[in-house]
Symmetry: C2
Subunit: 247 residues, 2 copies
């Protein structure tokens, strides 16, 4: 049985600081919990709402290897983040998803993104197009935020995250090996970018775009040409288009 103080602790994981200090985060719903358990990311605890089992065979099967706490609706809602929870959530150790440095050919870089859904959607697209390494700037929204996790639709468990303490410094350190491409306005058409070699492709803040420091270490600014009257594209759409062009 989970104690009141444990429940309180897990509920505190809605807070960024509590997540960073404990290294734990919550994934909620069938898809996220399934992908989490399949990924081998360490699962610290799993919770279901009373009467949960028997609804989804795969979730039931995956949970059968875990210690699962059954909670009353009222207690389950303390941990859940969605308005209509599916009745299952699990606490994972983020260290299972972190890496000290990239190892893949191409790297997705998130600079100062503020909107959790944009970040989650970029991670999902990165996964779809086979990018696995994601370098996350220190001013970016926390990728273990529940809204980010939810928008990844399980893809958070398919990627490896390098959390930068100083993104510009980290990118500079990668530069001998990786060419830095930055999505921005007024650059070269993304379809005409220089091909070949390892690249780190940077997506930036929704309103302010890349900083001077990021631009100073950028090898090539890439742009998606517009044909209508919109001022800009949503950043997760821009990222999807650019990542698609790698394949």
């Amino acid at each position: 049985m989970v104690s009141k103080s444990q429940l309180k602790f897990y509920a505190s994981l809605k807070d960024r600081r509590a997540r960073a200090e404990s290294g734990l985060f919550i994934a909620e719903g069938h898809k996220a919990v399934q992908e989490g358990l399949k990924s081998g990311c360490p699962c610290e605890a799993a919770f279901v709402r009373e009467g949960f089992f028997g609804e989804n065979e795969e979730t039931d099967r995956l949970l059968s290897n875990q210690t699962v706490e059954v909670l009353e609706e009222r207690d389950f809602r303390k941990l859940a983040n969605t308005e209509s929870p599916q009745g299952v959530l699990a606490v994972f150790d983020r260290r299972g998803l972190l890496a000290p440095s990239p190892t893949e050919r191409d790297l997705v870089v998130l600079y100062d993104l503020a909107d959790p859904r944009n970040v989650g959607t970029i991670i999902r697209s990165a996964d779809w197009f086979g990018f696995r390494d994601i370098l996350v700037g220190e001013t970016c929204v926390d990728i273990f935020n529940e809204k980010v996790v939810r928008s990844t639709m399980g893809s958070i468990f398919h990627c490896r995250f390098i959390l930068a303490a100083d993104l510009a410094a980290d990118l500079r350190a990668l530069k001998p090996e990786y060419r830095v491409l930055t999505a921005d306005t007024g650059g070269v058409d993304y379809r005409n970018r220089r091909r070949g070699g390892k690249t780190a492709v940077v997506f930036s803040n929704e309103t302010r775009g890349p900083s001077d420091a990021i631009l100073a270490l950028t090898d090539e600014r890439i742009t998606i040409p517009g044909f209508g009257r919109a001022e800009s594209l949503n950043v997760s759409c821009a990222a999807a288009i650019i990542l698609a062009s790698y394949r």
Copy 2:
């Protein structure tokens, strides 16, 4: 001076039925109000919060041609939909954005999309890539929903919407002229789709995808190949990639 009952009426526009009956909808924030006023879409009323003027030159200039009601914070919040409103909103007549039938070469079709932000983001991408005609299925979230309007970032005023009473019937009627392409799994690679001629490209419900009725009248199912372990792409990202491939 706006009366209490007028204020109540405008506040009722948060409700889909009230919008449909009156033909009115609210656009909020600098960008949306600016694009609305510039578009020539009939503006029924404009509201600002006390102390608003002097912050954004373009908004001030555009509003100088309108009757603007200054509201106390408390009343302004009754109309505003955002948590931190920018202090300006306007009521527009949606009939200024509706068309009975498409006239452009290519047509974006929204089938049964449930998430307002996805719909708004698709409209924004359509505008970016120069698509102007949008055919909206009858089971789709209301495109004049405040969250849709906000996610379009003003692009709602650059497009023309054809509201279907029966999307399958409307698409069938367009078929002699337009080839129907439907984004789906298991179709032809979107980059290898048949080119040339007018097309209607259909984006469907986030979970269920296209219906049998839509598939029955589809000329070509198009797919974005995946390279990783994600189960699917976000529909607004898929739409962005496919619309980008037209240019």
